[in-house]
């Protein structure tokens, strides 16, 4: 018999990593959009859900292989985000206090999408499983980790790494960060701010889609995921500092481990309330977040 404490420790480690990486990735998507365009996307939870729902339809009803379905969703996400930016987001670039206007508009999008979900996917099923990419379990020491969840974890960490490196060293990433820090100065230096806005929206939205797809590879999901994930991603962004990808990464991991560990040490309900409390305290004491420059 294996020492149960070792098993619990390993389970905490893997769960914290999987949840933390997905949280961090999703929050990074939200924070890129907010930091650059000042667009607090209240519909990020719905976006997070939309991607795996489409992938679910492709892979179960249409019989596509899950890999193909995931890739197709990520590609199809680009024109979706592009249209949204052209038709709606773009209109507010010059509005004063546009973050409030955006918040309201995206709340509207949230309502529309949840209405759409409930008359489409909601009618078809009440829980969704994307067929696994790989069957079986991988043993980490004595601890069995399903191969599929391991793939999701590796995917999330790879994407996070790519995002981090890309923002730091790629030309577009540097221009994006310049706009984060000071849009007037960036514009004076010849950066086409509107193009960067478009790029940030496409990138951030795709990252949120990717987060949703990875989540769906690791877990069963249902329509309630949108709400809980939207709140979590927002909380991470606020605590980490809107616009800070590093903040999203650190705080996202932290939240993942807290959610993983809390039922071992405290009541799970306390955990839910403690998220909100952390968010509130940060908002009140340091509205720009822990990792703001």
């Amino acid at each position: 018999m294996v020492d149960p404490n070792l098993l619990i420790g390993l389970s905490m480690l893997t769960t914290g990593l999987v949840l933390g990486a997905i949280f961090a990735l999703t929050a990074a998507g939200v924070t890129i959009v907010y930091g650059c365009i000042w667009l607090p996307n209240a519909a990020s939870g719905q976006f997070f859900l939309l991607a795996p729902l489409v992938a679910w339809s492709l892979s179960t009803a249409m019989g596509w292989s899950p890999i193909l379905a995931v890739a197709a969703v990520l590609i199809a996400g680009l024109p979706f985000a592009y249209l949204l930016e052209r038709l709606l987001i773009r209109r507010f670039y010059d509005v004063p206090d546009r973050n409030i206007a955006y918040f309201v508009v995206t709340l509207g999008i949230t309502q529309i999408l949840s209405g759409v979900f409930s008359i489409t996917w909601g009618q078809w099923s009440d829980q969704y499983n994307i067929p696994p990419l790989a069957e079986g379990v991988v043993f980490i020491g004595p601890f069995p980790l399903p191969a599929n969840r391991l793939i999701a974890l590796v995917g999330a960490l790879a994407l996070l790494g790519a995002l981090f490196v890309g923002l730091r060293y790629h030309r577009f990433g540097r221009a994006l960060r310049a706009v984060f820090q000071n849009r007037e100065a960036a514009a004076l230096r010849g950066v086409d701010v509107q193009r960067i806005y478009l790029g940030a929206f496409l990138l951030g939205t795709s990252v949120i889609f990717a987060g949703g797809l990875l989540y769906a590879m690791a877990y069963s999901f249902d329509l309630s995921v949108a709400w809980s994930m939207g709140i979590t991603a927002f909380a991470i962004m606020i605590v980490g500092g809107p616009g800070s990808v590093l903040g999203a990464l650190v705080v996202g991991m932290l939240f993942g481990f807290v959610q993983a560990a809390v039922s071992v040490f405290a009541s799970p309900t306390a955990a839910t309330l403690s998220y909100l409390l952390a968010m509130l305290v940060i908002l009140l004491l340091r509205p720009s977040g822990l990792f703001a420059r």
């Binding site: 607090p40 709606l88 209109r91 206090d97 973050n99 409030i100 206007a101 918040f103 309201v104 508009v105 709340l107 509207g108 999008i109 949230t110 309502q111 529309i112 999408l113 949840s114 209405g115 759409v116 409930s118 008359i119 709140i231 927002f234 606020i238 309900t269 839910t272 309330l273 909100l276 409390l277 968010m279 509130l280 908002l283 009140l284 509205p287």
Partner: protein, 338 residues
């Protein structure tokens, strides 16, 4: 001049009272229609509070439903468990709820713009969780059912039956009183101050207005209106649960104000009168309700930032301005005073 306005105002309130009593009596024969009217009245009260906060002071609060919920749960607790008279329980719990609202909202009131919106949203979510997870006060997510309507004894009338149109009349008069409170505040010195805060709070601060103090006062008064509305909602519908006071309700109240026309007295009333009945009348189309509401939110923000009444007012002014230009070009100079 003042006297003329005062007498004009008085006639306006009297005809308003006549209108709500008339509406309540006209629908007395059809209890479904009466219920819709009653809920519209409650929303007029709530939107009056939201209008003071958002329309006149520029604070977008997403925790209004939570405050209404505290008022409702507090009243029901005192009324049912402690056997208080409903009419005594309402003011006590409303003041309590408004105080709790201010205490929770006070730190957030220092924050500007979007950070205030976010903080209030977080507080709203936390309040919903409190309603769910403290069942000893709230009966948890199943809610409290069979809340009886209170009796009322009026001097000169004796015991008044509140099961029929009596209660809708009370709700109507309450809504009217709420609107009147907002109207009087706007006409007072405080009104000028809070509008200055809405327009530019830094400038207002420089002019010597105690911005935080006025924000807190406005927040307290609007919370009071919310909580009273919540308490009456509880006994009127006979049922409350955490979902009666969730973030969607905060959003809906905000939407009614923005849709009708923020910062106008009539706007929120128009907003409530149009938006509240829609889901009740379109019950068969319940599936597209969310899509409809979402589209409306976007439409208002993009196309009608001033709301229905605000757009009408603007159109009316432009028209009048054109006429004046044709007759007497001098008149234009007075326009910026608006």
């Amino acid at each position: 001049m003042n006297r003329m306005r005062a007498s004009k105002d008085m006639w306006l309130w009297i005809s308003g009272a006549a209108l709500v009593i008339g509406l309540a009596l006209a629908t007395a024969g059809n209890r479904f229609a009466a219920f819709i009217i009653g809920i519209v009245f409650l929303n007029v009260l709530w939107t009056a509070g939201m209008n003071l906060l958002y329309g006149y002071t520029g604070l977008v609060s997403m925790m209004t439903a939570g405050v209404a919920g505290i008022g409702a749960y507090g009243t029901v607790k005192l009324f049912l468990d402690y056997g208080w008279s409903f009419w005594f329980a309402v003011p006590v719990s409303a003041v309590g709820a408004a105080a709790v609202g201010v205490i929770l909202g006070l730190p957030a009131l220092r924050l500007r713009g979007f950070y205030f919106v976010l903080s209030s949203l977080v507080i709203q979510v936390a309040l919903t969780l409190v309603f769910i997870y403290f069942p000893q006060f709230t009966n948890g997510d199943t809610g409290i059912t069979q809340i009886p309507r209170p009796g009322l004894w009026l001097p000169g009338f004796g015991a008044v039956d509140l099961t029929g149109p009596g209660f809708e009349i009370i709700l109507g008069l309450l809504a009217l009183a709420g609107v009147a409170v907002v109207y009087m505040i706007i006409r007072s010195r405080m009104g000028a101050f809070i509008i200055a805060i809405r327009e530019d709070d830094l400038l207002a601060e420089e002019l010597g207005i105690d911005v935080t103090r006025y924000k807190v006062m406005v927040f307290f008064i609007s919370s009071l209106l919310m909580a009273v509305g919540g308490a009456f909602y509880a006994v009127y519908t006979g049922f409350i649960s955490p979902r009666s006071f969730d973030v969607l309700m905060s959003m809906n109240i905000w939407l009614m104000v923005a849709f009708g026309g923020r910062g106008t007295i009539a706007g929120p009333i128009i907003g409530s009168a149009i938006l509240v009945p829609i889901p009740f009348l379109l019950q068969e189309l319940y599936q597209i309700k969310d899509i409809f509401y979402g589209s409306l939110i976007i439409l208002v923000t993009v196309a009608m930032p001033a709301g229905v009444y605000g757009t009408i007012l603007k159109w009316w002014r432009v028209r009048r301005q054109k006429q004046n230009t044709a007759v007497a070009p001098v008149a234009i100079k007075r326009m910026p005073a608006e």
